[in-house]
Amino acid sequence: MAMERELLSSLFKKPATLKYPFEKLEPPKGLRGKHEYDGDKCIGCALCARVCPSFAITLKGGPGPKCTGLTVDLGKCLFCQQCEEVCPRDAIWLTTAYELAVLKKEDGILNFDRTPPPPPTPAKKEG
């Protein structure tokens, strides 16, 4: 009978449960959620792909200047934020978006595009 008072007082309190899809919790500022990518800053150094513990990040078109963007497989991702930490240009970072459920596996792969810089001019080659 030790909890009876607590129980009866709960009858007149708001339930602790959140009616989730209808009311949502504000995520804390530092939450590690979905990735975001800035193609202009990226230099295609492939550090994020090398450091990813679950090999979730792939460079499209290979590393280096010819890189045309990233794919991030959220099904593999651990949300450890190591890619953001290691990126020298802050081109990839994690947002606080946390609703990541998808119907098909393929929809869980983020596809980021980047226009690769124009091929180096001959003048630069000489220099």
Binding site: A2, M3, K29, L31, V51, C52, S54, F79, Q81, Q82
Partner: protein
């Protein structure tokens, strides 16, 4: 086996087990005569997987050995790697590591109290405890950005700093946690139905516990003073004032007592950390491709479930030659088997839950299907067809 005895399989899938494992109970009426444990259902090959990843990648693999003691595994892993590589971490980083170690202990112990209440059919207490556990979960999420896998310790320090502005609020949360824990201590010690199910259940004496090398709260409830934080202090634990908690009940009530009292101590330690944390750097630089010198190190920490050992061997590359993890649950299985013998069927769930088993931690090595020589995934249709064919038999 006489004709009055029969074997009850519990697991791999059973409501009393939160993770797959299997126990074969030989019972005589309602009394358990013999127990045979069988683990390995959750074997993921983590130790082997760690041998092909660099030290930074392994950080996140070790974290996923277990969901509840993720931070304890990381603390032990980083400790071992730093010891093997001779890396000194900044003072402030140690404080933040201790803070997480203890916050995680609070959340894990509260989780256990809820689960134990559920195992003896007291779902109401389970709901309430888990509701109040959200306080510390929210705190952890706020600081680290994730509810379970905090990813805070890194080789050479910690990854996120904590801001002084939040300390007054966090103090309040910790006070609330202590108050609620005290309330649950009161409930557990006055509610007759709980006492009926806890006193004398799964008793094991101190001598047997030492003989079977039990660890953690499971051993401390039998009166073995084995808290690594006291016997072999790591990080800051030689400076922090806190009680070494052990009781000599030896039964489930003792396990409850050890855990709730440790929760209160953990709250105290967290408050101490917030009061005493020095300013300064939080990490020394460690490059993901950095190589470690040859060497080996053993690092033992007190995870929530007991003593946790990480043993790493480095051969001079940027990935470990061998990394051995022994999670507390494996060390507790021999004593658990002793505890179960002679008990009632009805007491199996609470005795099993009493050691706070975590079979994900326990099974962690290799997966490979040799005979088939391939891996495959079944889709829904194939599964359905298989089910129909199975039932036609």
């Amino acid at each position: 086996m006489s004709d009055r005895q029969f074997v009850i399989p519990i697991g791999p899938q059973h409501p009393a087990l939160k993770e797959p494992t299997s126990f074969y109970f030989t019972v005589d009426g309602e009394v358990v005569v013999d127990v045979e444990p069988r683990i390995g259902y959750n074997h993921r090959g983590i130790e082997k997987a760690m041998e092909v990843r660099n030290y930074i990648q392994n950080l996140y693999i070790t974290e996923r050995v277990c969901g509840i003691c993720s931070n304890a595994h990381q603390t032990a892993y980083t400790g071992a790697v730093e010891e093997a590589g001779g890396i000194e971490i900044p003072e402030r980083a140690k404080y933040i590591r201790v803070l997480f170690h203890e916050l995680e202990r609070i959340h894990s112990h509260l989780l256990w109290v809820g689960v134990a209440a559920h195992e003896i059919g007291f779902d109401t207490m389970f709901y309430y405890v888990w509701r109040d556990r959200e306080l510390v979960m929210d705190l952890l999420e706020e600081i680290s950005g994730n509810r379970v896998n905090y990813a805070i310790p890194t080789v050479g320090g910690v990854r996120r700093d904590i801001s002084k502005d939040n300390f007054p609020r966090w103090h309040k949360v910790l006070d609330a946690l202590a108050e609620r824990t005290n309330y649950y201590i009161k409930v557990a010690s006055t509610e007759q139905t709980i006492l009926d199910r806890a006193i004398g259940v799964g008793y094991l004496s101190k001598e047997d516990m030492i003989r079977l090398s039990g660890v953690g709260p499971n051993a401390r409830c039998s009166g073995v003073p084995c808290d690594t934080r006291k016997t072999a202090p790591y990080l800051l634990y030689d400076e922090i004032p806190f009680e070494h908690i052990y009781v000599d009940n030896g039964d489930v009530l003792g396990q409850v007592l050890v855990r709730v009292l440790e929760t209160l101590e953990a709250v105290k330690i967290c408050k101490w950390v917030l009061d005493n944390i020095p300013e300064g750097e939080i990490a020394v630089k460690f490059n993901p491709m950095q190589k470690l010198p040859e060497g080996e190190a053993v690092y033992i920490v007190e995870a929530q479930r007991g003593e946790l050992i990480h043993y790493t061997i480095s051969d001079g590359r940027n990935m470990p030659y061998r990394h051995k993890i022994r999670a507390p649950t494996l060390g507790n299985i021999p004593s658990l088997v002793e505890r179960l013998k002679g008990g009632y069927i009805a007491d199996i769930p609470i005795t099993l839950a009493g050691i706070d088993p975590c079979f994900s931690c326990t099974d962690r090595m290799v997966f490979y299907d040799e005979g088939k020589d391939r891996s495959w995934v079944w889709d829904e249709e194939q599964l359905r067809r298989y089910g129909l064919e199975w039932y036609k038999k």
